[in-house]
Structure formats: structure tokens, C-alpha cells
């Protein structure tokens, strides 16, 4: 059995839909798992149920083989870092970090030593006596992290911990959090709605949508083989197209005709959805390749995104900047892609 397991968790706030709807997850010890999903998809609610602040309407949570449903938050031994840090304003940095140890009746001398060690890990040793509100956002973030880690929690939960920081600081803190995770090896669940953050930090990503889990996978697998149209569209830029499998490995786009695609052997026939990454499309040399009409050009500096249509099907293409000089709107281009680039959504490859 896995270290932390959620079984058929459901949370009903009395709204039209369940805030969390039948979520089951198995998380291994020491793993770094990210919850990724749009606003309102149930990430925080799931986290709050794990921490014990919300009771599931139904379902169970087990930690290290033990059901923790009846355990109140203060006895769960789970560290939480909140988006706005929730540092206690009336306590110094050291007293904030020492708080969980005082609650556990740890002897004074040991508290001092452990607080000093954690503050060293987050590189804030010099700020032990500072008032939290006098620290910068990134520093406050690190105090919150130290406070949630100092009592050696079984699990660390972070709810959009970098949401309030600017871009540079975010990247710095992402590296920092990964480093600390490597150093201490604590099982970590990290909530974000920033897919780049999820891709760069996690061992595995759990994609939430409308209270349900859409897919659980390693970052690259998630990127290459989205299981649902939602994941295909949410993780990275993508073209999600309606297509038909007539049988015999021939894929047709309505109004365009057959296209190059390498289908898995178990691919069912009939209508299906395919995903085609914009960056996997190239300009073709021959004149018999599919024709793409450019309707808009967005320049990103290092690359250019062309918005247009393949026949009647809307399509996005991302080209390296060098390949896309002197293109104009209205131009018709011939395009191609490797048959491997076509992913049939819902199949294994």
C-alpha cells in the first residue's frame, strides 16, 4: 500500500457540483507530487481534506497504512504552507519556526538547535529575531517553509506557495523548494495552476478539472500522452482536433482528408480526438503537402506562432524565429509533421 492514499474522496459544499468528486490517489513516500488545475477545480479543497481542515463528504484518507479520517488537524503531523504564508505577526521569525516544537513539548535547548538548523537550511539564520512583516515576500515564504518542516512532518502540503511572488523570485524559490525536498526527502504535495512550475518541479503531476482527477503521470508522459482532451489542451500548447479513424491506420480530418499519423495497434475505429503539438509542425518543401492558410502571426522573439487553418480546421503552428521570417498574413504554406507527432487522446501512446 502506498504511503498516502486518498480513496474516493468527495466534498459537497452544497453547490451544483461536487467541489471534489471521487478523487483517488496513491502517493509514495518521499515523492514530490503536484496538483495542477484551473481555478476552482478542487485542488485546495483536496489539500484541506488531507490536512484535516475540511471533512470529506465521503471517502477515506490513509497515511502510512493508518486511516486518519478521525484524526484532528493538530494530531496529523502534516506540515502546511499557505499561499499568504500565515506567519504569526506577533511572534519573531524564530518563535514562528519554534511554534510546532513548543506545541510538542520539545525541550528548550533542542528547540533552539532545531530552529537554528532549519533557518540555516532556508538561509535565514540572520533573521531569527526579525518580525515577520519586515521580511520580503520570498523571505516570509522561506520562514513558512522552515516552520512547516521543523517538526519533521510526514507530509508537506504547499498551496500555491509562490503565487504572490514576482517571476524571478518564483524561479529562485522553485529551485530552493526542490533543493530542500532533496535534502530532507519529505513527501510533498504542491498545488499550482502554473503548468511550467508543475513540469519543472514534480515527480508526478495530478491534473484536476471540475473536482475530478483527469490524469496522474510523470511530467513528460503527461506532456507526450495526454489522456483527455482537457489535459491535452491544459498542459502545454496544443492542437486538439476532431478526426475519424476509418480503419487500417488511416486518420482523416473532416474537410481535409487523410493525414500522416502513426496509430497504436489498439486504436479503435470511428470518431476520435487527436492532439498535435504546434512545435511538432514544420514547413514542407513539396507542393503536395497539406495547405495551411496564415490568419495571424504572434512573435515571441525566439519563436513565432502562426494561427490559421488547415482547410477548414483551425490550427496553431510554432516555428523557430529563423524559419518564419518574412511570412505574411494570408499566405498559404505547405506543412508537414512526423506521423509519431500525432497522439490519439485516450490511447497508450
Amino acid at each position: 500500500m502506498s504511503y498516502l492514499s486518498l480513496q474516493n474522496l468527495r466534498k459537497d459544499y452544497g453547490g451544483k457540483i461536487f467541489a471534489v468528486d471521487d478523487v483517488s490517489l496513491a502517493i509514495e513516500k518521499g515523492e514530490f507530487v503536484t496538483f495542477l488545475g484551473p481555478s476552482g477545480s478542487g485542488k485546495t479543497t483536496t489539500l484541506m481534506m488531507i490536512a484535516g481542515f475540511e471533512q470529506p463528504t465521503s471517502g477515506h484518507i490513509a497515511l502510512a497504512g493508518r486511516a486518519i479520517d478521525p484524526v484532528p488537524p493538530h494530531k496529523r503531523n502534516i506540515g502546511v504552507v499557505f499561499q499568504n504564508y500565515a506567519l504569526f505577526p506577533h511572534m519573531s521569525v524564530a518563535r514562528n519556526v519554534g511554534f510546532p516544537l513548543r506545541m510538542r513539548g520539545v525541550p528548550k535547548a533542542e528547540i533552539a538547535a532545531r530552529v537554528a538548523r532549519l533557518l540555516a537550511i532556508v538561509e535565514l539564520g540572520a533573521f531569527a529575531d526579525a518580525e515577520p512583516r519586515r521580511l520580503s515576500g520570498g523571505q516570509q515564504q522561506r520562514v513558512a517553509l522552515a516552520r512547516a518542516l521543523v517538526f519533521e512532518p510526514d507530509v508537506l502540503l504547499l498551496d500555491e506557495p509562490l503565487g504572490a511572488l514576482d517571476k524571478n523570485l518564483r524561479e529562485q524559490m522553485q529551485i530552493e523548494i526542490r533543493r530542500i525536498h532533496r535534502e530532507l526527502g519529505v513527501t510533498t504535495i504542491y498545488v499550482t495552476h502554473d503548468q511550467t512550475e508543475a513540469m519543472t518541479m514534480s515527480d508526478r503531476i495530478v491534473v484536476f478539472n471540475g473536482g475530478k482527477v483527469e490524469q496522474v503521470d510523470a511530467p513528460l508522459a503527461l506532456y507526450r500522452r495526454p489522456n483527455t482532451p482537457f489535459v491535452a489542451g491544459f498542459v502545454g500548447d496544443n492542437n486538439v482536433l476532431d478526426a475519424t479513424h476509418a480503419g487500417g491506420g488511416r486518420i482523416e480530418l473532416p474537410g481535409v482528408g487523410p493525414i500522416a499519423a502513426a496509430l497504436p495497434s489498439d486504436c479503435p475505429t470511428g470518431p476520435l480526438k487527436i492532439a498535435l503539438r504546434p512545435e511538432s509542425i514544420r514547413l514542407a518543401a513539396g507542393s503536395d503537402a497539406p495547405a495551411f492558410t496564415v490568419q495571424g502571426i504572434v512573435n515571441y522573439g525566439d519563436s513565432v506562432v502562426l494561427v490559421g487553418a488547415l482547410g477548414t480546421v483551425p490550427l496553431k503552428i510554432r516555428l523557430p524565429a529563423v524559419a518564419a521570417s518574412n511570412l505574411t498574413v494570408g499566405q498559404i504554406l505547405r506543412i508537414e509533421w512526423s506521423p509519431d507527432a500525432v497522439h490519439v487522446i485516450g490511447t497508450a501512446r
Binding site: 484535516g52 488537524p73 493538530h74 503531523n77 499557505f82 500565515a86 518580525e131 516552520r147
Partner: protein, 259 residues
């Protein structure tokens, strides 16, 4: 338009403030009657006031009643405010109405009720009776103040404390209470001042034994108005002013220290 408004505003403010500045000098008047302006000044009325147990008694009674009321009010209102701000349940709006009724009912109406009800319970002319009645009257305002504080408090403070190992009760005393110090202080002050000033209900139920300062003043004004009253009035005014000055100075002092 603008200058006219300013002039009118100032004139009205003078009307608002002036009477207070009439009472203060009267308490130092040498005149045995209410002549204003006073023919001369001395501290004789103060000496008189503090030597007369029929005045000092009520003064002490008022402090006892106000302190008891403040304590009881905060003890009852704080947990209730927690439930009302943190939970949703059926009948909540009805309960909200009940909690606020004491501000809607005119004091004279409930005074009539207390007069007979407390007589039956043997609570007439007791500290406990006045404290119970005053707690009803002060609870809505204290409840609103505490609730406003709780609504403005980020729940994550308490959640953080609990996730770090603090049981809910400990989290309240170690985190919520200190963070919301200001809201609790203000609502306690409001309760204290309200009870210290309350006249109508105290008139009917405090009787002679536990007469509060306002009750004693009311009786004195009715009988014959002498300048010792001005001392009582000045004290009544002074206590309120002192309570607020104290809270203001505290803030001022703290701001100065942390700067």
C-alpha cells in the same frame, strides 16, 4: 457653497461640544446653586463628593457592575461570534435577529420586564441582577465588533497553528486572541462604557443597595440640582474619556516603539 457649509458645520459642532464644557467648570464652582458662569472656583465639591458615601458607593458599584458586565459579555459573545462567522446552518438568520434584539427593544420596555421578573428571581437590587441585565444590553454591540474582527481574520492563521500541532483551544489563545487583540479590546471597552453609562434599566433594578452612579445622579437631579452633581457628571465623562484615551495612547505608544 463650500464656505457656507464649513461655517454651518462649525456652528453645529460648537452646539454639539459646548454643553460638555459647561459641566466641567461647574464642578469647580463656588456657588451652591447652578449659576453659570460660576462666581469662583475651588475643589470643595470634589472633597464633598469623595467624603460622601452616598456618592462614592454608587461610583464603586458602577465599576463593579461594568467590570462584571464586560467579563460576562466577552465570555458569552466570543464563542458565539466564532460559530456565527465560521458556520452555516439552518435558522442562522433567525438567531442573528435574536442576538441583535436587545438593541431594538427600547430600554424602558425591558426595564419594566426586569422590574417584575427580577423581583421574582430575587435579583432586584443585586449586583448580579444589574450585571445580567447589562450583559443583555451590551452583547449585541460586542458581538458585532468581535464578529467583524473574526470575519476580517484570515482563517489560515488558525489553520496554520493547528497544522503545526496546536489544539483548537490553544490555537485560539496563542494565535487568534493576540492577532485580534484590537477587536477584543474595543468590544470590551464598548461593553464597559455602555454598562457604566446605562441609566434607564439601572434606575429600575439597582435600587438603593447597588445604585449605580447614573442612578444616583438621576435621583439627585430629580430631588435638587446641586453642584456636587457636576462632580459626578465630570467623573462619568472622565471615565469614558480615560478609557478611550488609554486605548489611543496605547496605540500611539506602540507605533512609536516599533518605528
Amino acid at each position: 457653497m463650500r464656505p457656507t457649509m464649513i461655517l454651518l458645520g462649525i456652528a453645529v459642532a460648537v452646539f454639539v461640544a459646548l454643553p460638555i464644557f459647561i459641566v466641567l467648570p461647574m464642578s469647580f464652582s463656588t456657588s451652591p446653586s447652578l449659576a453659570f458662569p460660576p462666581p469662583g472656583y475651588w475643589l470643595g465639591h470634589y472633597a464633598h463628593f469623595f467624603r460622601d458615601p452616598t456618592w462614592t458607593g454608587p461610583l464603586i458599584n458602577s465599576f463593579i457592575v461594568a467590570a462584571g458586565t464586560t467579563l460576562l459579555t466577552m465570555l458569552l459573545v466570543t464563542p458565539a461570534a466564532f460559530t456565527m462567522t465560521r458556520h452555516d446552518f439552518r435558522g442562522k438568520s433567525a438567531i442573528n435577529v435574536l442576538l441583535l434584539t436587545p438593541v431594538i427593544v427600547p430600554h424602558i420596555v425591558i426595564a419594566v420586564g426586569y422590574f417584575t421578573y427580577f423581583a421574582k428571581l430575587g435579583l432586584l437590587q443585586t449586583y448580579l441582577g444589574v450585571i445580567l441585565a447589562h450583559t443583555c444590553l451590551t452583547s449585541p454591540l460586542a458581538f458585532l465588533t468581535v464578529s467583524a474582527g473574526l470575519k476580517g481574520l484570515d482563517r489560515n492563521y488558525e489553520r496554520a497553528a493547528q497544522s503545526l500541532g496546536a489544539p483548537p483551544i490553544v490555537a485560539f489563545f496563542v494565535v487568534t486572541l493576540p492577532v485580534l487583540r484590537a477587536a477584543f479590546l474595543v468590544s470590551a471597552l464598548l461593553a464597559f462604557v455602555h454598562s457604566f453609562d446605562e441609566t434607564t434599566v439601572a434606575l429600575f433594578i439597582s435600587g438603593r443597595d447597588v445604585a449605580t452612579l447614573p442612578k444616583r445622579m438621576f435621583d439627585a437631579i430629580r430631588l435638587q440640582a446641586d453642584p456636587v452633581l457636576s462632580v459626578a457628571a465630570t467623573l462619568l465623562f472622565g471615565v469614558v474619556l480615560a478609557v478611550f484615551a488609554a486605548s489611543f495612547l496605547r496605540k500611539f505608544f506602540k507605533a512609536g516603539v516599533s518605528r
